[in-house]
């Protein structure tokens, strides 16, 4: 009996190992960036351990690996289109930034903005500044009111990004309310420029 259980456990173990590294591309795009001679390929991958982003150049050389950015694919809106992977030129330098989103729970999703630096030829996430406590600044924007259609994280034509999220009261004598948080790119990072409670029309 012990041998059977042992064999079964081994079979499960070995059977599940390949799944740890199997991943599928759920979105991809090709970009020509200033500072790189050949187009780069951006792939949003879904694997057993989560969602990640990989950017590779000529001959499949890996230029950037985001690491795990969430557990489930998530949409956001850019140019009035819902997508999980997109671009927008926030800093107006002629090189678009790469946008990718993911859900990780319990309620929250993140939108990452990756910027290419032609001098160092490296990609890095753009920071979202927490002005009240800069140590709590993040490499992503958060929305804790998930909407499947992606409208909880919207990149507007003027370059601002709006997140739907809860506004918690200073003291919990009241319940949290839904609000819109607006971020704007400035001096290499996103700053929160507006936060307002919203109600249905």
């Amino acid at each position: 009996m012990k041998k059977i259980i042992f064999t079964l456990l081994l079979a499960i173990f070995f059977g599940s190992l390949p799944m740890l590294h199997a991943s599928e591309a759920i979105a991809s795009l090709s970009l020509q960036l200033k500072g790189i001679d050949t187009p780069v390929i951006i792939e949003k991958l879904n694997a057993a351990d989560g969602i990640s982003l990989k950017i590779s150049g000529n001959s499949d050389n890996l230029l950037f690996d985001s690491g795990i950015i969430g557990s489930e694919n998530k949409l956001f809106v850019v140019a009035d289109q819902a997508t999980g992977l997109g671009t927008f030129d926030f800093d107006g330098d002629g090189n678009v930034e790469i946008l990718a989103s993911a859900f990780y729970g319990p309620k929250a999703s993140a939108l990452y903005v990756y910027r290419f630096d032609p001098a160092s030829k490296k990609f890095s996430p753009v920071r979202f500044l927490n002005s009240s406590d800069p140590e709590l600044s993040t490499d992503f924007m958060t929305s804790d009111l998930r909407q499947e259609d992606g409208q909880d994280m919207v990149v507007k034509a003027d370059g601002s990004i709006v997140a739907l999220g809860l506004i918690y009261p200073a003291k919990p004598d009241e319940t949290p309310v839904q609000g819109l948080y607006t971020w704007k790119f400035s001096n290499g990072e996103f700053k929160l420029i507006d936060k307002k409670a919203v109600t249905a029309d």
Binding site: S132, T138, Q151, P169
Partner: protein, 273 residues
């Protein structure tokens, strides 16, 4: 047994090398993931073993021993829950139960039963902060023992999310506003969603739980996500735990961590840790 352990470790390393093409970083990654998986599974395995043991003991005992704690007898509701209106907060008795983590006396058991009964009888509605702590404190402590999430954090998050219990999504017993389907199904409630630049009222499904404890356990389980690993590394420092939640992107509100810390401080929820 020792040989079996050695064999398992060797097999693990061999398998990791095979699946990663002998890349040292990837091998470590695979081993870490498997180890994490085993670590996460240990509480569940223990629970199953305990359950099996209890069942086995129950089968062997035809009649319960006289001094067996009457866990299946419905506890009397001595600890009635006082649901307050927003203006009545100061009128509610301030009688927090000092938590006991290791007590085994009959008196402690009775208090535990009373706490559970009180929580079972609570139907939602705004509570005075002291009452909130007294009611949810033991359940938060139990969840904390299993998950490592500080009890003070659980209480502060539940208080902030629900406005001291005033909004737990109908009868869903959902203390953390988590969408989806829970152990008791889901509750569909009108909520506001953002559509083409304006807010509209639409229906959304939220997780429904059989008990308040289930809601707390589910939330603590969801925080085991690797996203919150830094928070979990600070389980002995609730204030830092709150900051790491914020840093990991638990909430949109940039003031979320400071609001949690403020609640923990002003109500001394640390005493539940």
């Amino acid at each position: 047994m020792r040989q079996f352990k050695r064999f398992s470790v060797l097999m693990l390393i061999a398998a990791a090398m095979l699946t990663t093409g002998c890349d040292a970083t990837k091998i470590l990654d695979v081993i870490t993931k498997v180890a994490e998986g085993v670590q996460k599974a240990i509480p569940a395995i223990k629970e199953v073993v305990n359950t099996v043991q209890q069942v086995t003991q129950g089968d062997n005992t035809a009649t319960p021993a006289p001094n067996t704690p009457a866990t299946e007898t419905p506890a009397k509701n001595d600890a009635a829950v006082v649901v307050t209106n927003p203006g009545d907060e100061e009128e509610v008795g301030n009688n927090p139960t000092t938590p006991t983590s290791t007590g085994t006396s009959t008196a402690t058991d009775t208090t535990g039963n009373d706490s559970e009964a009180a929580l079972a009888n609570y139907r939602g509605g705004r509570l005075a902060p002291a009452e909130f702590g007294r009611l949810f404190g033991p359940a938060a402590q139990e969840a904390s023992r299993r998950s490592g999430v500080p009890a003070s954090i659980i209480l502060a998050q539940a208080a902030l999310e629900t406005g001291w219990g005033s909004s737990s999504i109908g009868n869903a017993k959902n203390l953390f506003g988590i969408k989806g389907t829970g152990p008791a199904g889901s509750v569909t409630v009108p909520t506001q969603e953002y559509r083409n630049g304006r807010m509209v009222t639409e229906n959304a499904s939220f997780r429904k739980y059989n008990t308040w404890q289930e809601s707390i356990e589910d939330h603590s389980r969801l925080l085991q996500n690797s996203r919150y690993a830094n928070a979990m590394r600070n389980r002995d420092n609730p204030d830092q735990f709150a900051r790491e939640l914020q840093r990991a992107g638990y909430a949109t509100d940039p003031e979320y961590a400071s609001k949690l810390i403020s609640i923990m401080k002003s109500n001394n929820f640390y005493r539940f840790n």
